[in-house]
Amino acid sequence: MTDRPASAECQVDASVAICRLAGDWRTSQVLPVMDQTKIGGCTALSFDCHELGEWDSSLLVFVLQMTKTAEQNNCRLDTAGLPAGLVRLLQLARAVPAKAQTDEVLHEDGVLEYVGNVTLATWWRIPQNLAFIGDLTQSLGRFVTGKARYQRANLLLFIEDAGPRALPIVSLISFLVGTILAYMGAAQLTLLGAQIYIADLVGIGMVREIAALMTGIILAGRTGAAYAAQLGTMQVNEEIDAFRTFGLPVSDFLVLPRFLALLVMAPLLTLYAGIVGVAAGMLIATTVFDVGAFAYFNQTVKALTLTHFAVGMIKGTVYGALVALAGCLCGMRCGRSAQAVGDATTAAVVLGILLITIAASLLTMVFQRLGI
């Protein structure tokens, strides 16, 4: 079969317009454009389709446009010349008149409206967030008094997922960060011939600050995001509603075990990350900067007091708690669509990292003031 190019011509004869449609009309081809002003002065519009070959919805679009122009100009429409199938499609397309917009529907807001909407949404969420924290506090109270209702098997699963399963990524990142610290310190300290102090720098830096920070960020991306996605999906599947209709405390069953898992695992991971970082520093110092392994070890032991470990682990615990809070909060307030689950996950990670950073600066200031 040969493809003939589509064509459309309009002939005006004694104020009756005849539109000749010919060739094969396909959406994939270049379609003819017709000067529709010709129809303007006519009283009737008819079609001649003797030369018309194959056609698809491109022809429907073309004819619909013509009929609209004809209607606007009070021009009588004669569809007798059109293929029977097309006439039926035309009738279908015009059966229900376009919805008259009473309220203007705006899908694209201006900058000001956007800022306003975000502000209002944040404002309205405050009571919701406070209620969430209140519920969790009550759950923790019940947990302490042994009255909380949650599934112990679930708690163990969350602990396994948050802790042991995070070890590979925590190992890798703390090892690399330890290496970076060692190199950064060495660049300055070798100028003074004081390479041995790489041990102090890496030891205190890792254990006190960076192990907790790195662990917090890894947990936010790994566990916080997972919590938001799990709870968000449960929200979509009405699983959380099912808990509510049974009158079961959602916060005990869903939030508490997740929160506890991170509260327990975050300090342990922080401790582990610190030790891996110190080992990495030692490896670099001994192999690249000619520090004796035993001397490095001694120097590290001298520099690191239990206070440094305690500060690091307190920070790790706080970050872990914040990550759990952000993840569960974003999951619980998730909407009921796939898009909403994605948004909740993103929000959980962003909020988690934001809270960690704020807490990090506050805690550093507080410990500084207290002289710890």
Binding site: E238, D241, A242
Partner: protein
Amino acid sequence: MNTAPPVIAVEELTMRYGERLIQRDLSFTVNQGDIFIIMGGSGCGKSTLLRHLIGLQEPASGNVRFSGQDLWRGDDATRTAIQRRCGVLFQSGALWSSLTLSENIMLPMTEIAALKPAIARELAAVKLALVGLAGFEDFYPSEISGGMKKRAALARAMALDPDILFFDEPSAGLDPLSSAHLDELILELRASLGATIVVVTHELASIFAIGNNSLFLDADSKTMIAGGNPNTLALSGPDTVRAFLNRGKS
């Protein structure tokens, strides 16, 4: 003469999402042993009404009373007590995906009714057998078909032997046979347990097969426009309702 208050009495209920009005001035009663159908076109607020009845969403105004007790004006303990009389079958089943079917049914039994796990396990097996899922105790919800999920969810809804059962679109996504089977199960439940049943649906076959009372929500006027036995409404209801119940043919 029975003067006990109706199982569910709704008075002047108005529902909103934020500023948007969903339905207003809904008043109806559901009596003991009714199979009450909430029907209406897509998007008219049927499921939203259900969420108000089962305590998931607070009404903008109006009352929902269960046997005379107010669901929303009372304290939390009253609401929890009412909710525990109700079993809900959600549209998607809403089985807890991290638990097996048997654990899904056992959870309310052990946590709310404080049953011993061994007894709960046996009861769960019986409930699953009632809905034709004997032998599926240790399957996870993701491992069974949509129709089976619905039935398992029904078994969970019946876990605490509720006297009121709510169904949200029970036949959505089911083939005609499974759907008819579910209808039979609903009738069976009423006959054997004497339960009161509220069903949200727009499935005509189900409406006529099981409903003895109903409520029609209209999306345009945003209120109820008819109530009563669906078979009567199909013959003598308002035009919109007759058209709905006769698939547009009058």
